[in-house]
């Protein structure tokens, strides 16, 4: 047996271990403080300032907060639209994703073709997919309305109608269901076959098998899909912005200031409003207040996500 390590050597070893850990973590430690910690503190600072990005910032107390939360006309519609999308889009995506995932596991012939076909739209860059959908659904010459017209179904104006703009965005998001399809497919294939056989012996029908075998074993994945869906939808920006801009038909050259959320602010989301306030109206204070509102909601959802049941943080941590 080796003799016990003397204390100073042990201490040296521990210091070396600590330095080693710090060394490996250093890229992230720097990145986290410079590109996350600093801007977060600065956002809080600017939320109490009047700052137009030219003259030096000027302390105004809670005025920005009062303005955003009680007076700003666009805050209400933006919050409503974001919440609408969070509820409707996430719910439909999870249901549709689960449906397509189950369908894929049942396909016997041409499974590879179908799987690829269902997955590909998810890969389409959001701007490209949105441009494509604005074309497909345009009320003048769009193929969708041509077909609907030919079979005699009254066609809505989609992205040009305040009532249909958000449902059109939901349709676009269902087109890109590939990510959820893969996650659900993997979860469904993990359900032990014997359990289905046992349920069948007990006389369970299709619904019974889903309710008592499939559902209990996929609930963690469903929960995961819901919570990550909520987080993603709170950031919903590109598709809504591009759809609104293109459908409005305004030609945009650099520097043009447009009213966001065409038609009638129906596609204006909270992240878009941050951009409009901060980079078009140069109202830095109000934009930072709105950022912080978004931050608080995002943190609340993330806390929920890190509960053990949502499965993101492994139990052994």
């Amino acid at each position: 047996m080796a003799p016990l390590t003397p204390a100073p050597a042990l201490r040296r070893k521990r210091t070396r271990k600590r330095l080693r850990t710090l060394g490996f973590l250093s890229p992230w430690l720097i990145g986290f403080s410079v590109f996350f910690g600093y801007p977060l503190i600065a956002t809080v600072y600017f939320s109490f300032m009047h700052y137009n990005q030219i003259e030096p910032p000027d302390f105004v107390g809670l005025r920005n907060w009062k303005y955003v939360l009680t007076q700003m006309p666009l805050f209400g519609p933006a919050l409503w639209n974001t919440l609408w999308l969070v509820v409707v889009m996430v719910a439909l995506r999870v249901v549709f994703g689960l449906g397509i995932g189950m369908l894929v596991t049942k396909i016997k012939s041409g499974a590879g073709f179908f799987r690829t076909a269902f997955y590909l739209p998810y890969l389409a860059p959001p701007v490209a997919a949105t441009v494509a959908f604005v074309f497909l659904l345009n009320p003048g010459t769009g193929p969708v309305n041509e077909i609907l017209g030919a079979i005699g179904i009254p066609a809505p104006s989609w992205f040009n109608d305040a009532d249909w703009a958000k449902p059109s965005l939901v349709m676009l998001s269902l087109w890109g269901i590939g990510d959820l399809m893969v996650i659900f497919m993997a979860a469904l294939l993990d359900v032990p076959k014997e359990q289905y056989e046992a349920a069948e012996l007990d006389g369970a029908g299709a619904w019974g098998k889903f309710r008592y075998v499939t559902w209990p074993s996929i609930t963690p994945i469903v929960l995961f899909a819901v919570v990550t869906g909520v987080v993603q939808t709170m950031q919903y920006y590109t598709q809504a912005l591009v759809a609104g801009k293109l459908a409005s038909g305004v030609s945009i050259s650099p520097g043009t200031v447009i009213q966001p959320g065409y038609p009638d602010h129906s596609t204006l989301t909270v992240p878009q409003l941050v951009y409009t306030l901060g980079f078009q109206n140069f109202n830095t204070g109000a934009a930072c207040v709105l950022s912080l509102v978004l931050f608080v909601i995002a943190m609340a959802v993330t806390t929920l996500l890190m509960r053990k049941r949502a499965g993101l943080l492994p139990a052994e941590d």
Partner: protein, 300 residues
């Protein structure tokens, strides 16, 4: 238990042509097959038809693209040439490749040591570090963009370029760190122990043992990051909008539509050209990709 359930099952019917239980089972299976594949074909139409219409319109003549017709009279492949000749379009390609290429390289290099430490080192604050990584991953980019923009624009004078988007990637991207860490957890500790017995230091263990074993995980984060950069619209809008020479494809495509507002055919050709690289990359790296997607949700 088993006997009771068995007796409650209905006895096979003995009348008619379907009386034979085997034939009936075969018929049920056939009906099931037809039902599943009918639904599958209907769903496939929903997913594939948008691509088809976009493609058909992209080869129409200018006049026909203004009509509501669905099938091109003549196939104008020259539309694609016109798109490539649009001023700026090739620059957008170059910029997209620069952003996605360098961004991916930086992300992978910085994520590997961090993910390794988070997966395999035992140290105080590891749980806190993981929580912070996940929190930054979940955070809307709009939350911190304003002070960040002010630093890049006013202190470093780098707005109008893509560097404010590329440089931070050398300092660890939370999503990539998280994904890679989940992958590294699956590598047994014994490999690391035996490398140490052979006299490898931590860095050598990482480079010689872990990185080769983690290739699928590294491929997955590289792909995700490449796609993220290629698809990014918000970043270029903040930092590159003022300077058209720095636009990427994702950002330029929208202005393309504005400039050619009546030419749906050219816009659709450009749209397909923006989608194409991503889809081609996917076909070459399908396995790594699906691995990455399942890694986000199922494992860990």
């Amino acid at each position: 238990m088993t006997t009771t359930t068995l007796t409650t099952r209905p006895a096979p019917a003995r009348t008619g042509t379907t009386g034979d239980p085997a034939a009936r089972a075969r018929r049920t299976r056939l009906l099931h097959w037809i039902a599943v594949h009918t639904v599958a074909i209907a769903a496939a139409l929903f997913f594939v038809l948008p691509f088809v219409f976009v493609f058909l319109t992209s080869v129409m003549s200018d006049d026909q693209a203004l009509s509501g017709e669905l099938w091109p009279h003549e196939w104008n492949w020259s539309n694609y040439v016109t798109v490539f000749r649009t001023p700026g379009f090739l620059d957008w390609w170059k910029n997209s490749l620069l952003y996605a290429g360098l961004g991916t390289l930086f992300t992978v290099c910085s994520a590997i040591p961090v993910a390794y430490a988070l997966a395999k080192f035992r140290f105080r604050g590891r749980r806190t570090a993981m929580i912070l990584v996940i929190s930054t991953m979940m955070l809307p980019p709009q939350v911190i963009v304003i002070p960040m923009y002010l630093v890049w624009a006013q202190q470093l004078h780098l707005s109008g370029s893509l560097w404010p988007l590329i440089i931070p990637m050398a300092f660890g991207d939370a999503y990539s760190i998280f994904l890679l860490r989940q992958f590294l957890l699956t590598i047994p500790q014994e490999y690391i122990e035996s490398a140490k017995v052979d006299g490898c230091g931590e860095l050598r263990t990482l480079l010689k043992i872990i990185v080769p074993m983690a290739k699928p995980g590294i491929a997955a984060i590289a792909l995700f990051q490449f796609f993220y950069c290629w698809n990014d619209y918000f970043g270029p809008q903040i930092y590159a909008a003022q300077n058209p020479a720095s636009w990427t494809l994702s950002y330029g495509l929208e202005s393309f539509k504005s400039a050619h507002s009546v030419n749906w055919n050219l816009t659709m050709a450009a749209t397909l050209l923006v989608m194409a690289p991503v889809i081609i990359v996917f076909f070459f790296a399908q396995k790594a990709f699906v691995e990455g997607v399942t890694l986000t949700g199922v494992k860990g």
